[in-house]
């Protein structure tokens, strides 16, 4: 039962709790005051009643006296005025008597009242007889009646007087008792008021603490959050008031802030990774460029010189020489120019053509190079300087110094989502261990190698991986020594590019 009420109370809003607390207190104060007023009124009424009895008795005494006087006057003068006066007084006396008790009682005062009333009745009857006798001129009878009435008058007078005295004595005692009871009431009511005030203060204090405590906790938590500590424990509430609503909202806020922080951290990590990738890529490019520049001293001077040579050959009608020099100039220009940009597959293939041409001039046509290229794929942008280093490897490590005729085949075709760039030679081949070493990047381009353009396989593999974010785009296959080598580069195609190629 109590727990039910308490549950209900804890579900109330602060406003309602405060109103309830104040209303209850006010109600109790009001009830106590009401009780006090009612009691005071009751007691005052009692006092009134008590003293009015004295006043009534005095009136009765006066009327009695006047009645006796009026009878005497009538008997003395027999005037109609005095008779009238007697009748009036008799009526008044009778009226006043009607207020007296006429029942035998063990209360002395009540009993006295009864006696007075009865004696007065007897007295009045006697007076009537006397007056009647006077009117009938029965001298003997009215004289006797008057004497008797005087006696009775005296008795009644004394009794009323005594009753009055006793009533007054009783009234004084009652009045003292009344004063005493009012004093008791004062004590009781002040005690109750003080106690209620104290308890009320305690209740309000408790209530205020119940309200303020969670607010304090809330503020503390908020400060911690403001200071950057998002791992504050969730605040507990067992009520359902306004503070609880705020606390719950705060808890929700903390939870969602934590969620956001996790999300932001994830995306920042991603961004960081991407930046690192970019930086790495740049480093590799720079590395390739540097190596190239190391190998080429002042390429512009070389181009210009080459161009001058080509013009000279043209003027001398040495067409072969002219073509050779032009090709060489193109090759180096491409190398210099395209090192930092992406190139199309077509440009790459052209670069390979130039390279092979130059080598064939150098080695008197020893390299049999053929290509099988899907021309629809030539527009595809890819990192530059990818195919040429592979071809260079095929020349330098595959078909150089072999007994048989060296052949290099370049094929470019689409296979599923990829463009496959395949460089196949029939040279010395590679052992499995060596292939693994190449994948692991443990083979470095021999710096003393004079024929190298300076871009190693390692560089190509890393750039491919960085550019497309995929591994295994570079594959080396060889069946063993003297079995030739096949190097395949896979370039991923987006769906849009695939559609584009299909429509070509």
């Amino acid at each position: 039962m109590i727990s039910k009420i308490m549950n209900k109370f804890s579900r109330m809003s602060i406003r309602f709790k405060l109103i309830l607390a104040f209303t209850l207190t006010a109600f109790f104060m009001f009830m106590i005051n009401l009780f006090m007023y009612v009691e005071v009124n009751n007691k005052m009424e009692l006092v009134d009643q008590v003293y009015s009895s004295n006043v009534d008795l005095n009136d009765l005494l006066e009327t009695l006296e006047e009645t006796q006087q009026s009878v005497y006057e009538y008997l003395n003068t027999k005037s109609s005025a005095s008779l009238e006066n007697y009748y009036r007084m008799e009526q008044q006396f009778q009226n006043q008597l009607s207020g007296l008790n006429r029942q035998p009682s063990d209360n002395k005062l009540m009993l006295r009242e009864k006696n007075i009333a009865n004696m007065s009745d007897t007295y009045l009857t006697l007076l009537q007889d006397t007056v009647q006798a006077k009117r009938g001129r029965n001298v003997e009878k009215y004289k006797e009646g008057y004497e008797k009435s005087k006696e009775l008058y005296q008795y009644i007078n004394n009794w009323i007087y005594e009753l009055n005295n006793e009533t007054f004595k009783m009234n004084s005692t009652s009045y003292q008792l009344l004063v005493q009871s009012l004093k008791y009431m004062e004590i009781v009511s002040s005690t109750v008021l003080i106690c209620i005030t104290l308890i009320n203060m305690l209740v309000l204090l408790r209530l205020a603490r119940n309200i303020v405590e969670p607010l304090g906790n809330l503020a503390q938590s908020a400060n911690q959050v403001a200071a950057g500590n998002f791992d504050v424990p969730m605040l507990q509430t067992d009520s359902e008031d306004e503070v609880a609503i705020v606390t719950n909202a705060f808890n929700t806020m903390i939870a969602s802030i934590r969620q956001y922080i996790i999300q932001i951290r994830n995306s920042m990590e991603k961004e960081q990774a991407m930046k690192e990738q970019e930086l790495l890529m740049e480093t590799h490019l720079k590395d390739a460029q540097l190596k190239y520049l190391q190998a080429q001293i002042n390429p512009h001077f070389l181009f210009n010189s080459l161009n001058a040579g080509a013009q000279l050959a043209m003027m001398e009608d040495a067409e072969q020489t002219c073509l050779f020099i032009e090709r060489m100039a193109d090759f180096f220009r491409y190398n210099v120019k395209k090192m930092s940009d992406d190139a199309t597959l077509g440009e790459e293939v052209e670069s390979v053509d130039n390279y092979i041409y130059i080598l064939n001039v150098r080695f008197a046509g020893d390299i049999h190079f053929s290509k099988n290229v899907d021309s629809a794929l030539l527009f595809k942008k890819i990192p530059s300087m990818i195919i040429q280093p592979i071809v260079e490897n095929a020349v330098n490590y595959g078909i150089r110094d072999i007994e048989w005729e060296g052949v290099i085949v370049l094929s470019i075709f689409q296979e599923n989502d990829y463009i496959r760039i395949c460089v196949q030679d029939n040279g010395k081949g590679m052992s499995k261990e060596r292939i693994q070493e190449v994948y692991a990047g443990e083979i470095h381009a021999n710096k003393s190698q004079k024929d190298s353009t300076g871009v190693g396989l390692n560089n190509v593999i890393n750039r491919l991986q960085l550019y497309y974010g995929e591994k295994n785009l570079f594959r080396i296959e060889s069946d063993g020594t003297n079995q030739g080598t096949k190097v395949t580069i896979s370039i991923p195609l987006s769906e849009e590019e695939q559609r584009c190629i299909e429509s070509y």
Binding site: I2, S3, I5, M6, N7, F9, S10, A21, L24, T25, F28, M31, F35, E39, K43, L46, Q49, V50, Q103, P104, S105, D106, N107, M110, L111, K114, N115, N118, M119, T122, Y123, E151, L152, Y155, I156, E162, T167, M170, N171, S174, L177, L178, Q180, S181, Y184, M185, V188, S189, T191, V192, C195, I196, I199, N200, L202, V203, R206, L207, N210, D238
Partner: protein
């Protein structure tokens, strides 16, 4: 939940405190008996008991018993002559009772003409009158409750006999002027004859009576002291016929250092008399059963009211109390 508990305890304490203090306050004011003015049992009939000695312990006892009997019958008895500041005579009281139209009068009368007339007047007004302790002859009283005067005189005489010594003895009987009637005379003569008959050979007894007027309040005291001071008239045995005389005589005997010289035969047992008997300063006291007196008085009135007729005489027990049986008597009183 636990946090809310103090709030609820507080509110409960508040309610409890308020209710408790209101109850406490009511209890206190009720115990002050402030409303006694208008309180009281009401009764069907109203009797008055009139005695000029009403304030004495004996009459209080009679009155108490009368009240108890009356209450069972649904009547109330009022005692007159007790606290009146007016010097009313018996006749006055009877007149008052008649005027107040009471339902019956229980009266300790004086056997005088005026009282007889007043009793007749009451009877004519339809108010039955029962005389108690003393009778009133030649009037229309309804019934008499009390001790037979003849029997009383005999008892006193018998009681005085063992107190007499060899040689001449003076015996004094204190009578009241109003009682110098047939009843008083009867008592006196009966005492005298009982004594004379019972005297031993070597004893003589002179029995005298002293009348005391009850009109003047202090007369009785003066007369007793005069009597004791005068060695030649000093009685050997002093017989008192009422409570007040017994106490006065005893006080005078003690004051004049005459304990043992003057033997008092008293009447009734007041506290003073009891302690005197216990010390053997008063050898004996006659006790009329006050309770019987009161209750018979009321019973006579009730019987008359119910049947219309009632016995003329109700006899009340008379006991002589001395040192040997006083304890027994008191225990009996307490039991009743």
């Amino acid at each position: 939940m636990r946090k809310k508990l103090p709030v609820f305890i507080g509110i409960s304490v508040m309610i409890l405190l308020t209710v408790a203090s209101i109850i406490y306050y009511n209890y206190i004011t009720n115990s002050l008996k402030i409303n006694e003015l208008t309180k009281g049992m009401t009764y069907d009939r109203h009797y008055v008991m009139i005695s000029l000695n009403a304030s004495g312990q004996f009459w209080q006892e009679v009155y108490k018993s009368a009240c108890e009997t009356a209450e069972n019958e649904g009547a109330y008895v009022e005692l007159l002559g007790e606290d009146s500041s007016q010097n009313y005579t018996l006749v006055d009281y009877i007149e008052i009772a008649i005027a107040a139209k009471v339902d019956g009068i229980i009266l300790e009368p004086e056997d005088t003409r005026n009282v007889q007339n007043a009793i007749d007047e009451a009877s004519d007004a339809g108010i039955p009158v029962v005389t108690v302790l003393e009778d009133c002859s030649n009037c229309k009283r309804l019934s008499y409750v009390g001790v037979n005067s003849y029997q009383l005189g005999q008892k006193y005489g018998t009681a005085a006999l063992p107190l007499l010594q060899e040689g001449e003895n003076r015996v004094m009987v204190l009578l009241h002027e109003e009682e110098k009637d047939i009843a008083s005379n009867l008592i006196f003569t009966q005492i005298n004859s009982t004594l004379q008959e019972g005297l031993a050979d070597n004893q003589t007894a002179v029995v005298n009576s002293q009348s005391i007027s009850s009109q003047n309040i202090f007369d009785s005291e003066e007369i007793i002291r005069d009597m004791l001071m005068n060695a030649s008239e000093r009685p050997d045995v002093l017989i008192c016929l009422n409570e007040a005389d017994t106490e006065r005589a005893y006080q005078a005997v003690v004051d004049f250092n005459l304990v043992g010289d003057v033997q008092i035969i008293g009447y009734y047992l007041s506290d003073t008399i009891i302690s005197a008997i216990e010390k053997n300063n008063i050898p004996m006291s006659m006790v009329v059963d006050a309770r019987e007196l009161g209750s018979y008085g009321v019973e006579a009135l009730e019987e008359y009211r119910n049947i219309g007729n009632v016995s003329d005489y109700f006899s009340v027990d008379l006991t002589s109390i001395n040192q040997s049986n006083i304890m027994e008597y008191q225990n009996m009183e307490e039991d009743s």
